[in-house]
């Protein structure tokens, strides 16, 4: 700021800003901001790619069609008002329960006990009610079981709070609201859906599908945390090993491997492959034995020896099992020992890399791979189930996976957990773990805390911000997700059971060419995401501070 700011230099500065900013800003305005504005406008029109439809402004009609109800026979306004009033009371109860917990209202424990009772009642209702064969009825009772379970858990959490006693107070009110809302919904349910139906029943089904597929999120997060804890520290591997002895051992092993493979190596190709690889590893052992005796640094000796030992074990396992005529078991056994050898050779980095691979390669190709894995007749998963069943003398049949209504969603959830468990979330947890102050850990050690105690009272609270971030990102991703799986693996079926909201939007826009309605769905989706994020933001951050 030494020079005086002249008019000329200021205009030159403005030009420079423009030069740096313009390329990105123009693209951003054209392909992000303009579409957002356009999309919002489209949601209020009947914008359609079919030439026969004239563009009209339709106001809120798209949204009403999407989430509204219509009378089947004759309208009963009082009934629907009461029903939606109950739903509103339920939601208000839900939010105020969170609030009461946060603000330490008196009587919250009593409220918690009430919620436990409510959850138990809902659960009992779902279990005891006579089963109806329809998919939608089954879907609803699944939903009841899940929400009952969540109610019991959350209620227990509230009821076991520390501090105040069992006196009712202001904090009991939210739970009463919750109970009243649930009771109202339950009482009015039959009458309501006897005289009304949702205008777009598919929207609600697909919303339910989207929420169902998000069941995998907590498992994925817990798994990522467990993996991060496992791969957080290096393995204590470096150490001395007796050099000359080891070298002699390896040379003997090399000869032994050749002999074993000479015996096993028959006429089959596997035998030949085995023979070749056995000879190769034997040669490597021999070479390594020479190298070790000549020049390996003393502190790496143990590691090299361990790696070679693992490879040796792998080869011997494969040879033995191949000899017993079980090629698949041999390959899998070899794979296990290969993992161990990699771990010993490259330490923890090897495992981090392997765990991260599914995330890095995720995409359409891997979905097509999983589609083949899930094939009911020829896919390896069902073949493995049948083989294990045969070995145990049982007649096990694998499920139809993607082709059956009850198994399609769990199949997608399993695939999702496999893809994401060692991915970005694990890396974020690793970053979080590296920020846990060591003096806290040392203090816990001095106090003689157990491993679980240290995790519960030091690591877990310290990881709070990371968990919070991961949860929010997972929920946002989960609500938007499911398009690729539906398009590539299932076509949204069977019977629409894997169609999520994003696939519904795609179908509405690019199959039915109904862009206005699709834009309206996308804004409803945005609203859901926004509310979920805002609730998380409001209550999740407060919760993470108190241990």
């Amino acid at each position: 700021m030494g020079k005086p700011v002249t008019k000329k230099s200021r205009s030159r500065e403005a030009l420079a800003v423009l030069g740096f900013l313009a390329p990105n800003l123009l693209g951003f305005l054209g392909f992000t901001l303009l579409p957002v504005v356009l999309s919002f406008l489209m949601a209020f029109t009947n914008w359609n790619l079919k030439p026969a439809v004239d563009l009209e402004f339709v106001g809120l009609r798209n949204f009403a069609d999407l989430i509204g109800v219509q009378a089947i026979d004759r309208p009963a306004p009082l009934l629907s008002a009461l029903y939606f009033g109950s739903a509103g009371v339920l939601v208000a109860g839900l939010i105020s329960v969170l609030w009461a917990n946060m603000a330490d209202w008196r009587g919250t424990r009593v409220g918690g006990a009430l919620i436990v009772a409510l959850g138990a009642a809902v659960l009992a209702l779902a279990v005891l009610r006579p089963r109806v064969g329809e998919d939608s009825a089954r879907a609803i009772s699944h939903g009841l079981v899940i929400s009952g379970g969540i109610g019991i858990l959350a209620g227990l959490g509230l009821a076991t709070r520390e501090g105040e006693g069992w006196r009712p107070g202001l904090g009991t009110l939210p739970a009463l609201l919750l109970v009243a809302g649930a009771f109202g919904l339950w009482m009015l349910n039959g009458a309501m859906w006897g005289s009304y139906e949702p205008r777009d029943a598919r929207f609600w089904q697909y919303f339910y599908n989207t929420a169902y597929l998000m069941i995998g999120i907590p498992f994925g997060i817990a798994g990522s945390l467990a993996l991060a804890l496992l791969v957080n520290n290096d393995l204590p591997l470096s150490g001395r090993a007796p050099g000359p002895l080891l070298a002699a051992l390896l040379r003997t092993a090399a000869v032994a491997i050749c002999v074993v493979f000479g015996v096993v190596g028959g006429t089959t190709v596997i035998g030949k492959v085995g023979l070749a690889s056995g000879a190769g590893v034997a040669a490597l052992c021999f070479l390594a034995a020479l190298l070790i005796t000549v020049r390996a640094p003393a502190e790496r000796l143990g590691q090299i020896a361990g790696t070679l030992l693992c490879l040796l074990c792998g080869i011997v396992t494969m040879a033995l099992v191949l000899g017993m005529g079980q090629p698949n078991v041999a390959v899998l056994g070899g794979l296990f020992w290969l993992m161990a050898a990699m771990g010993v050779a490259f330490n923890i980095v090897a495992y981090r890399t392997v765990y991260y691979l599914p995330t890095f390669t995720a995409g359409v190709a891997l979905m097509i791979l999983w589609k083949a894995l899930y094939n009911p007749e020829t896919g390896p998963i069902n073949v493995a189930i049948e083989t294990i069943g045969n070995a145990l003398g049982r007649d096990w049949q694998g499920p139809e996976w993607l082709a059956s209504v009850p198994w399609a969603k769990p199949a997608l959830i399993i695939m999702g957990v496999w893809t994401g468990i060692g991915g970005t979330n694990m890396l974020l947890y690793l970053a979080g773990l590296s920020n846990v102050p060591t003096d806290l850990m040392d203090a816990a050690d001095v106090d003689g805390a157990s491993a679980w105690g240290k995790f519960r009272h030091v690591t877990w609270p310290q990881l709070g911000p990371t968990t919070f971030f991961i949860t929010i990102m997972s929920i946002i991703g989960g609500l938007q997700g499911g398009f690729e799986q539906a398009r590539v693996m299932t076509g949204g079926g069977p019977a629409g059971s894997t169609t999520t909201l994003s696939y519904y939007i795609y179908n509405k826009a690019f199959q039915d060419l109904d862009l206005g309605y699709a834009a309206a769905i996308s804004w409803v989706l945005f609203a859901i995401i926004f509310v979920a994020t805002a609730l998380n933001w409001k209550f999740g951050r407060e919760l993470e501070v108190s241990p």
Partner: protein, 293 residues
């Protein structure tokens, strides 16, 4: 616990712990890598073996790869598949590289403008960038398609590259990174009479390299795997990128698992190569974009 440690001694206990950890980690690694092993195995199977349960083919064949690449007729039916897999490969890589180049260039310049220049309305514009990051991709997808139709970008490379190349995310990531670089050096350069372009190119960019590489990898990965956008933009096979091509292959030859798996292997291999080469930067970048960002 203490009784055991007294008997075994600390060193022995440490070794035992390491062995247990290696076993647990190896079992998890084993479970995660089985699908890949099966994929590679199936891609080398002749058709007669593909429905059988063994993982390693009895009579391995390399034919599936040239068949998918349309260099060889299908050994069973004697006909060429007539798919342009090689072209799809090229499309994917070409589009991914172009998007990455444009994205890195324009976002680093804009990030410089946000992080290192003073101008009126800067924070407002940046807030606008941030606000759009909350909005899900499907919201903008539909009107963007309309824009593409009116620009006549359907079935062109332009239509695949340009809309993907200007994201708010890239600018946001690099701005955060540039803010963490100390300003002392550009002050000195300014006194020496260096212009913004010099400071940007010779001082800020070299220091921002880890962030730039991280953004490049994330962008390249996203563009290489992008599926929704090309799916709605294209109906001519010669412009397909790999994911859309994979879908076409799967819907036509989905029963020939060995061909599908050969294609899948070819799809995944470049990613694994990129991963191994850039592993160091990638981990850094992901942590940067996550918690610290």
């Amino acid at each position: 616990m203490t009784r055991v440690s007294k008997k075994l001694g600390p060193r022995m206990l440490r070794t035992l712990g390491a062995v247990v950890r290696v076993v647990v980690l190896s079992i998890i690694g084993f479970a995660i890598s089985i699908p890949f092993v099966w994929m590679v195995g199936a891609s080398f199977k002749p058709r007669a073996e593909v429905e059988e349960a063994h993982i390693v083919p009895r009579e391995p064949t390399l034919d599936n790869y040239p068949v998918v690449l349309d260099r060889m007729p299908d050994p069973v039916t004697g006909q060429y598949l007539g798919l342009r897999f090689g072209r799809w490969y090229f499309n994917s890589i070409f589009v991914a590289l172009s998007v990455t180049l444009l994205q890195v260039l324009t976002s680093s310049m804009a990030a410089y403008a946000f992080a290192r220049m003073q101008w009126r309305g800067r924070d407002t514009v940046f807030l606008l960038y941030l606000a759009t990051m909350m909005i899900p991709g499907v919201v903008t997808m539909i009107p963007n398609f309309q824009i593409m139709v009116s620009l006549q970008f359907l079935n062109t490379y332009r239509g695949l590259i340009i809309p993907a190349a200007f994201t708010a995310f890239g600018t946001f990531l690099l701005r955060q990174f540039m803010l963490s670089i100390p300003q002392a050096m550009d002050e000195a350069a300014k006194i020496d009479g260096a212009g913004h372009w010099r400071i940007f190119w010779d001082i800020v960019m070299p220091q921002a390299r880890p962030g730039v590489i991280a953004l490049a990898i994330i962008t390249m990965l996203g563009a290489y795997q992008s599926f929704f956008w090309p799916l709605i933009m294209l109906n001519q096979e010669q412009y397909y990128p790999l994911p859309v091509g994979m879908l076409a292959l799967d819907s036509t030859y989905g029963r020939q698992t060995e061909l599908i798996m050969a294609a899948t292997v070819m799809n995944v291999v470049p990613l694994i190569l990129i991963f191994i080469i850039f592993q160091k930067y990638l981990v850094k970048g992901l942590q940067l974009g996550g918690v610290k960002g």
